[in-house]
Each structure stands twice: as structure tokens, then as C-alpha cells.
Amino acid sequence: MATYTYEHIPDQGAKAGVLAYLATSAVVLLLMMVFGLLMRLEQAQWISIGAIRFYELMTLHGAGMVGIAAIAGASIMWHFLRQYVDLSSRIFVANLVLFLVGVVMILGSVLLGHFHGAWTFLYPLPGKSMGLWSPGAAALFMGGLLVIGVGFLLLHLDIARALVARYGNFSRALGWPQLFGHDDGKAPPPTVVASAMVTVVNVIGLVVGASILAMMLVNLYVPEFDIDPLLAKGMIYFFGHIFINATIYMAVIGVYEILPRYTQRPWKSNKVFLASWTASTLMVMFIFPHHLLMDFAFPKWMLIMGHIIGYLNTVPILVVTGYGALMIVYRSGIRWDMGSKLLFLSLFGWAAGAMPAFIDGTITVNYVMHNTLWVPGHFHTYLLLGMVTMVFGFMYYLGKPSHEHDDHLIDRIAFWLFTSSVLGFTMSFLYSGKESVARRYAAHLPEWVPYDRIASVFAVLVIASALVFIGRFFARIGLARHDYQRAPVARSVAA
């Protein structure tokens, strides 16, 4: 076994581009949270916006949240990867510009064209809208997604270029010589390994996604060119699953980089770590069929593959990362501040969020659970308490005025309010799912309304605490640009 020692890399201020990414994410996140709240309020029968508005909001909420998760994740990855390889700022900014153009197109499609077929386009959507929206509106929505996809493709190509320039090829960037041969302790740092993994899977996902979007655009205007609905669904979920999974794999880089700075212990890219990332690189591409388990028309082997790999993929990175984080923190005398607390919480959120998916990935469970609120329960835990919490942790880290600075009382309160209200909010989803409350429905049966009301109250509290986090980030955005020590030195090191 190779030995790993902590190599201190000083805390760096964020480039303006990173802050622009984070600011965009923060603003859109709040707006989408409000949209989500409106949907819950509609189901709770406290407001009445009508079914069409509901599905419009759902479409925006879904596409918007996936979009900002990707944007925020990319900003974390880019910020830290820049320490190791030479990345292009122009392409980084170009991606954000293209993203905003895509967002405008999507907003126009939904708010003016009344498209409300959701970005998952379940058959026979988006083409056959029964007159509820025009082909133009659907085309604008898909065009917006394509523009966003082009931006991310460029970003990943730039990362690929930089990784190849520094490490020669992707095998080395993923640490294969150390994984399959002698571990000389010179494997690339975790940030590089994670970035390489995300780049490989996202480029594949984006090419497949662009293909199906182009096919659906043709089908929209020339319906005679039929798309096999199962093929379309498979391709959409292949892309969608990879893309949303990649957001957390990008954001976790924040954990790999920031926690070691607090405790001065290395995050080791040892064989176990490398193996878990290589395994997930492959598996993340083959688990999308777990979205299709109730589609009996799919070939059986595909569903079984989705079932098995879905089980397996829950484990590697999550366990390795969780164990790694515990090892870094254990008896380190870490000084807990908002940044480190949120990052640690995010790992719990990630693990907790993965469990419902693990259960739902069982074919027999899936038959009865998949179209209930159980699944939104899973991905809200996973994304809100996992992915978004990592982003909040990163924001606090960047904006921390000095390494000795103590958190305000209001932030501490907001942390506990956020933790408890997110748990309450996601638990009400999961409990509703257990009670077979249907998913994606604007109207709910009277028996279901109490759960919706509880969820609405928690959602208000989530938004309130997120407002504190985001308000604090914007208040400190000027500090975030400067280079100075942010991470407090752990007691074990200081002593």
C-alpha cells in the first residue's frame, strides 16, 4: 500500500465566472423552490391555479432544477479542477451564456407557448398535445434543451482537453495504472478522477440526448417519421439519468477538497477509491432501465440489468465517500462551521436519498411504487439534502470572512431549520408514496390532502432557510473573490 500525505493547497478565491454560476443557480433555485411550493399548495387545495398552470410549473420546476444542479455542480468542479489542470475561462463563461439562452427559450416555450409536457416527454408527448400547445412551443422547449446541451458539451470537451494535456489520456486521469497495477501513491487527486468520470459519462449522455432531441424535432414537424416510443423513452432516460447523477458527482468534489483542508488529512485516491469511481463510470450508464421497470414491453434482460446494476451502483462511490469523510473527520478535532457542517450533512442526504431508490429499484416494489410520490421523495432527498446542500456548503466556504470567523446565530438556526424542514418535506413525499399517492397529479383525493398540507408547511420552512443561506452568500460575494485562508485549522493539528 502506498502512503498518502496531506499536501496543502491554499484556499483560492473564486473566479468571477464561478460566482456568476453560483449566483445564477441561487436565483433560479429560489424561483424553482417557489414554483415547487405552488405545486404543493395546489395539491393541498390552499390555492387554485388550475391543472394546466400546475403542469407548466412542474415542467419549469423539473427542467430548471436539473439545469441549476448541473450549473452549480459544474462551478464546484471547475473551481477546484483549475488547481490541477489548465481550463479555459472563455468556454466556462460560454457555457453559462448558452445556458441562459436555453433558459429564456424554455421560459418562452412554457409561459408564452404553454408547453407543459415536462422534460421527460413521456409518450405521446411532446408531439401529440391534443391542441394544448403548438409544435412551435414544443420545438422551442427542445431547442432550449439542445442549446443547454451544446454548452455543456463544450465545457466537457474543454475539461477533456485539459485532462488529456496534463495526464496524457483518460485511463491515467481515472488512475487506472494505480488501480490495475502497482499503487505508487501517484494516482491523480480525487478531483481529477471525479472530473474525468463526469466528463466521460456526460459526453456520452449528451450525444445520445442530442440525438433523441433531433429525432423528436423531426417527428414534431413530420409525424410520419415515427419514433419507437420505447426507444425514445430509453434514450431520454439514458441521457437524463446520467446528467442528473453527474451533478452530484461534480458537487462531491467540494467535499473531497474542502474537508481535507479543515483537518489537514489527505483524501486518498487509493485503489478502493479509484475502483469505486471506475465502477460507477460504467454502471451509471447502465442503470437507466430502473426508470423503465414497469414498461413490460422492454426486453427482460434490460430490466434485470437495470435492477442488478441499480443495486450495485448505490454502493461504491457513496460508501467510499462516506467512509472517507468519516476517516477524515474522526478524532480530527475538526472545527465545525457552516461550510463543514453542510458538507457533512450533504453526505448523509446523499446516502438517505439513495435508499428509497434502492428500494424502488426492486422490480416487484417498482410495479406499485414507481408512479407514486415515493420517487419524488427519493430524488428530493438526494438532490436537496445531498446535491444542493453541497452547493450551500461550497457557498459558505467561499464566503467565509476569515478562518477564525464564527458563524452568526441566524445561520446556525437556519442550518437546523433547513435540516429538519427538508427531512419533514421529503418524509411527507415518501410517506405519501407509501400510501400510494399518485405522482405528477395536479388534483389530489381528499384523503391525500393532509400530507400535501404538511409538505407545504415544510416547503415554506425550506425556502425560508434557503433564503438565509443565499442571502448570506450574496452578502459575502465580494469576499469570495479573494485568496485567503478560509478553512479553520483543526484542533488536532493546531495543538
Binding site: V85, D86, S88, I91, L153, L154, L157, D158, A160, R161, A162, V164, A165, R166, Y167, G168, N169, F170, S171, R172, V200, V203, I204, L206, V207, V208, A210, S211, A214, M215, V218, E224, F225, D226, I227
Partner: protein, 216 residues
């Protein structure tokens, strides 16, 4: 690439011979007898002749042409339009029906697709190349699907099952190219950190660099 081709006079002669061979009736008619032969063999070969011919030109000449054309981007756009044109079912039919259109095809593919692509490739850099590759691959797959899913016979000159087999070939080719491109990211490369800055400068004027963003 064959070593002899590096010597321009020999190279041009070989290319000229290949071009004439493609234009001569026996090979031309046999390739054009099937849609796959026409779209996936003859047309790419004609473009490839233009590409290689461009590489045989003196480097200074290529650079001048690039400058005159405003750099890589206009050339890539030109390639996109010209190559898309010959993917239209109508253009395929017309080429078979009219000698004039056939001649236009034989001239435009090397001149408006192969040559400008070879010029642009010099200056594209890894990102531009990756962008062109990935877009080309996904559009090839989509075009294949179009030919498979077409509800009508799109070419009057070809049987409907040829259309489908050409479509499947395109999809398979797209998958193969994508796998190859990805694999090229995983192998090769010196892996010498010292080379990382050399990446940023213009690509070296080696004549046979024609695929993938792998360098060093």
C-alpha cells in the same frame, strides 16, 4: 498513411488515379447501385480525396488559404452545408438522373467538403475537433434513423430495403465512430505533465493528423 504519400508528387498521382477510378463507369456504377455504396463509400471517399489532397499542399499555402477564408469556422460551416446537401435523398436521385449533377457531386465533394475540412482541422484545436466529431456522430445516427423510419421510399432510384439497410449502417457506423473516439481518449498520450502547456499552442503541421482530439 503510406509513407510514399508524404511526397507530394507521388501523393497527387495516387489520389488522381483513385479519383479517376471512382469516376470510371465500372466502379462508379457498382458503387451507385446500392444506396449504402453511394452514400457511405463513394461520397466519403470523394471527400477523403479532397482532404488528403489538401494535406499534400505546402503548409504555407494551406495557412494562406485558411487566413483568406477567415479561419476555421467559415470552413466548417461550408463543410456542414455541402456535406448535408449530398445527404438529401433528392440530391442522390438527381446525381443518378443527370450527368451534370453527377459531375457537380464529383467536383463539390473533394473541393467543398474534403479540402475545407482539412484546412479547418489544422486550426480547430482539441475542443473544436471534439465538437465537430460529437455533432457529426449524433447527426449521422439521426440521419440513419430518418432513413430507417421514413414512411415512404425516399429515393426513386433505390429499393426501399436498401434505404433501411443504409440507415442501419449509418447508425452502426455512428456507434462505432463514437466508441472509437472515446477509446482514443483512453489510450495514447505521453502523460508527461511538462507537455501540458504545449497543448495550448497551434497544432504541429503534421500531414496525417485527421482524427480525434488526442495529441502529444
Amino acid at each position: 498513411m503510406i509513407a510514399a504519400l508524404a511526397r507530394p508528387q507521388v501523393g497527387f498521382r495516387v489520389l488522381g488515379a483513385l479519383y479517376l477510378l471512382l469516376a470510371a463507369p465500372p466502379l462508379r456504377t457498382s458503387l451507385e447501385a446500392t444506396m449504402s455504396g453511394h452514400m457511405l463509400v463513394q461520397i466519403p471517399l470523394l471527400a477523403a480525396i479532397g482532404f488528403v489532397a489538401c494535406r499534400l499542399l505546402p503548409v504555407a499555402r494551406q495557412e494562406r488559404l485558411l487566413d483568406a477564408g477567415g479561419g476555421a469556422v467559415p470552413y466548417v460551416v461550408l463543410v456542414v452545408f455541402a456535406s448535408t446537401w449530398w445527404m438529401l435523398p433528392r440530391a442522390l436521385d438527381d446525381a443518378l438522373a443527370s450527368p451534370l449533377v453527377e459531375a457537380a457531386k464529383f467536383i463539390s465533394l473533394p473541393l467543398l467538403v474534403g479540402l475545407p475540412l482539412a484546412l479547418a482541422w489544422r486550426r480547430l484545436g482539441p475542443i473544436g475537433r471534439g465538437f465537430v466529431w460529437t455533432n457529426f456522430i449524433s447527426m449521422l445516427a439521426v440521419l440513419g434513423w430518418l432513413y430507417i423510419a421514413a414512411p415512404v421510399r425516399v429515393c426513386n432510384s433505390y429499393l426501399v430495403d436498401q434505404q433501411e439497410s443504409a440507415g442501419w449502417l449509418m447508425v452502426k457506423l455512428a456507434l462505432l465512430l463514437f466508441a472509437g473516439w472515446l477509446a482514443s481518449l483512453f489510450v495514447g498520450g505521453g502523460g508527461n505533465p511538462a507537455l501540458s502547456t504545449a497543448e495550448q499552442v497551434a497544432p504541429p503541421p503534421a500531414p496525417s493528423r485527421d482524427c480525434g482530439p488526442e495529441r502529444n
